[in-house]
């Protein structure tokens, strides 16, 4: 339907995705093509949203980049390295907080450092700082069951950032939250990006969320997902809620929704 848009660029890209294809085997049937020939580059320090309808394969793409599954075909390179398995210098925020109910908030945040064998005083100090930065000061010794969904997802965000990952991968991290909490979390994400300068991929099915938090929006089509559009978001930083009501914001949303086939 829509033309395949592929951004090829420049040497020095942090992430390079070329003709990424994923086919899931189905017993007794031809394989199901989840995503097909997805190509774009990820520049260091930028956040790219993967926007698309539910079940379109954007999560699959994120899992490929995370090294949790291997692409059937194509090139997936981060920092010049082909991704074939998980790298510990990635931070992942899942759709669900995935906190361990038996650990305190602080110990949940420190989990990656324990696995990496780097749980020391500096790590604990950093975990405390991160918790303060997401507004969870005073909850270090609480258990996840005592926190609301939004608070739990903030803990998960701290956990993804604790080892200062080179790449932050977020799979609809705010999808399970209510609208108001969601908007708070989007502002939080923008703040964190200014302080950490993290490079990130962000999966969402919300058009406004994609436009609000990103530098680029990669619009995925319905399955098999191809790149329906690749939209640059030139909105200035720091962004605040006001920008949501600007004409530029509306135009970007309109372009994305056209790419999704919602408007013509």
């Amino acid at each position: 339907m829509s033309a395949q848009v592929a951004r090829e660029s420049a040497a020095g890209a942090f992430g390079r995705f070329k003709n990424v294809r994923q086919v899931f085997a189905q017993p007794g049937q031809p394989g199901m093509v989840a995503i097909d020939s997805i190509s774009f580059d990820l520049q260091p320090g930028t956040l790219i949203s993967l926007l698309g309808p539910s079940g379109c394969g954007k999560t699959t793409f994120l899992r490929i980049v995370a090294g949790l599954i291997r692409a059937t075909g194509g090139v997936v390179e981060i920092n010049g390295r082909a991704v074939t398995e998980p790298y510990a210098d990635f931070g992942i925020v899942f759709q669900q907080p995935n906190l361990m109910p038996w650990r305190t908030v602080l110990d949940n945040v420190l989990f990656p450092m324990e696995i990496l064998g780097r749980r020391d005083a500096a790590a604990v100090a950093r975990a405390r700082e991160l918790l303060v930065s997401v507004g969870l000061a005073g909850f270090e010794r609480s258990h996840p069951a005592q926190l609301s969904g939004g608070m739990q997802q903030r803990v998960a965000l701290c956990r993804a950032l604790i080892h200062a990952p080179r790449l932050l991968l977020m799979d609809e991290p705010f999808g399970a939250l209510d609208e108001l909490t969601r908007m708070e979390m989007q502002d939080l994400l923008l703040r964190i990006r200014t302080t950490t300068g993290a490079t990130a991929l962000f999966v969402t099915h919300s058009i406004s969320e994609a436009v609000y938090v990103s530098d680029m929006v990669a619009v995925f089509s319905k399955r098999p997902a191809v790149l329906a559009d690749y939209i640059e978001v030139p909105l200035a930083y720091p962004r605040s809620a006001d920008v949501r009501y600007s004409p530029a914001f509306t135009d970007l949303q309109y372009r994305a929704s056209r790419a999704l086939g919602i408007t013509r």
Binding site: A66, A88, N98, W102, P112, I115, L116
Partner: protein, 251 residues
Amino acid sequence: MMDRVRIALYPLVGVAVIVLAWQLYTDAFGVSRIVLPSPLDIWRASVRNAGLLARETWPTFLETVLGFALAVVIGIPAAVCVASSRVLNLTLYPILIATQSVPKVAIAPIVLVWFGLGMQSKLVIAFLVAFFPIVVDTAAGMRATPAGLMELARSLRASRLQIFLKVQFPAALPFIFAGAKVAVTLAVIGAVIGEFVGSTSGLGNLLLSANSQLDSPLAWAALVWLSALGIVLFAAVSLIERAVMPWADRH
């Protein structure tokens, strides 16, 4: 706090009503105390023989606790092995199920032949009875680790040992304790079965000998002490559960 008191009150009132009805029934119809001693008869027998009952509780308690402990010490690692290896799972699990279907009462005489009339044979039967729920629940817990947590660990390239110690085992704890609570009450039954088949001491032994002398109040008193033993052990496991998993209680 008030709620807890009220929750504890309900079963107590229930028990009181049953005991009262029982007392009234035996009084009103003049039921022979050999057939059905009244609660008062049992109480008096219990007080009169308190020393004897306490003395006989000790071996039964030891048999139960040691058999249960053995089941925990062997059962949990066995379940972990079964759950983490496909080969072991396919090999051992059917055998385990098959052995479980053998009635423990039927094995008891054989166990006695092997281990003698002393404590060992009771301990072994208590172990055999307690082993199964611990293995089954631990194995179920090991398989029930939330997929998201496994994925998180995998994304950090955690080793198998790290995944087991930091993710799978703590996640399985609620299952393990559920199995342990069933197992500890079963272990009491196992110990008593052993004592029934052949023994020189224990509450089961006392119950049998009182029964053969038609001293029904004492037999019933032994029965009450046995139930109390089961309840106390169950409560002890519950207390350990709370101490080990304080997070599970906070909502």
